[in-house]
Amino acid sequence: MTDLPYLKETPSQTAGPYVHIGLSPGAAGFDIYDHELGHDIAGPNAKGQRIRVEGLVIDGTGSPIKDVMLEAWQANAAGHYAHAQGGGPVEDGFRGWGRVITDFATGEWGFDTVKPGQVPGRNGTTQAPHISLWLVARGINLGLHTRLYFEDEADANAADPVLNGIEWASRRPTLIARRADRDGHVIYRFDIRIQGDAETVFFEI
């Protein structure tokens, strides 16, 4: 019997410790591109609430991972993605995508954006506001997908089909960022635990 004529996906390999050279060379310590990509998620014209998200990525020993790179993907405040099938228009300059590098000394990361709106789910459902995150690092063989939800969206979270699809209700809080305002700025704290107690939920998408 002959095989169906599909190709097979290229296998993944770890991004390694020097991912910054390729994807964020300024963080690697040199200046090469006219502009690096992924530094401005929302742009100057985005409507909605300006927020900051901060956190750590923590390994199985409880230590922060200091060489991780995260990518964020989100809708704007109206619930539209900057994409041809994104559900509607976005503000000029809104990309909804960003690259986030951890501090090499502390492992702390953070990014500024606007709070996303609700977006449609499958089969007529509505998804709570969320930011999709993708993590790569040395020691991570295939990029990890997770989602960040917001503590102060309790009603929307309670109706979210993805959160509710997690069989263990006790694991759902691993996807909820905690609001911790500082100096008049809206800050959400989101620590990601790769393994161990309270391992963050990761998704096969």
Partner: protein, 241 residues
């Protein structure tokens, strides 16, 4: 409007598992619980898009994009190929980014302290957009092998890191390509994270004499395959009503 279709599920046998003890760093950086299967929604079937205004005219030319006093040291190569999906359709206008060590096996990175020298004329990164046929090319120098801290005497085969976006966050992929004939490939614990030898073959760029430029640069061909997408959608509707 017809609702957008989903991507085929990933074949787990094609990729390295999260926990691969031969690659020691993976032990504390691998989830222990199973990932939750997520039926794709608009959040997964969309992703960032890029255009010509995002990149500069020399970004794909690693021989020139950081040249200060002359060309970098090393074997001049062309790296080229196509980005396709599992349906063998080209993936056009997608961002391909690469990074690598210099010819001596040293990275231009604050955290790399290998004794081989930095090349003052080599940055080590490049980026380009695929054309309407999914085709891409870079010009660079062949990276050197280098030792790394895993077991006591481990060496990475010459390799170039590759990052590709595709048309959605579901297709996002980072990998590494190796060079045909390198005896270090089968010895490498990171290569060995992939259990399927035929999958490893897909990461080996082939010497491509026809694409070489006589008296200038030798060429390697590396095609990249991203997840395919269903063309029809039954019963379960992705969004809306």
């Amino acid at each position: 409007m017809k609702p957008p279709a989903e991507y085929y599920q990933r074949d787990p046998d094609r990729h390295p598992p999260a926990l691969t003890p031969g690659y020691k760093t993976s032990v504390a950086r691998s989830p222990r619980l199973a990932p939750i299967s997520l039926e794709q929604s608009i959040s997964e079937i969309t992703g960032p898009t890029f255009g010509p205004s995002d990149i500069g005219p020399l970004d794909h030319d690693l021989i020139r994009n950081y040249a200060k006093t002359g060309d970098p040291i090393g074997e001049r190569i062309i790296l080229h190929g196509r980005v396709l999906d599992e349906n063998a359709r080209p993936v056009p206008n997608t961002l391909v980014e690469i990074w690598q060590a210099n010819a001596g096996g040293r990275y231009r990175h604050v955290n790399d302290r290998y004794l081989a020298p930095i090349d003052p004329n080599f940055g080590g990164c490049g980026r380009t957009l695929t054309d309407s046929d999914g085709y891409y090319f870079f010009r660079t120098v062949k990276p050197g092998a280098y030792p790394w801290r895993n077991r006591i005497n481990n060496w990475r085969p010459a390799h170039i890191h590759v990052s590709v976006f595709g048309a959605s966050f579901s297709q996002r992929l980072i990998t590494q390509l190796y060079f045909e004939g390198d005896p270090l490939i089968p010895l490498c614990p990171i290569v060995q994270t992939i259990p399927d030898p035929t999958a490893v073959e897909a990461l080996i760029a082939r010497l491509d004499m026809n694409a070489s430029v006589p008296l200038d640069s030798i060429a390697y061909r590396f095609d990249i395959v991203l997840r395919g997408r269903r063309s029809t959608l039954f019963e379960n509707r992705l969004e809306g009503n």
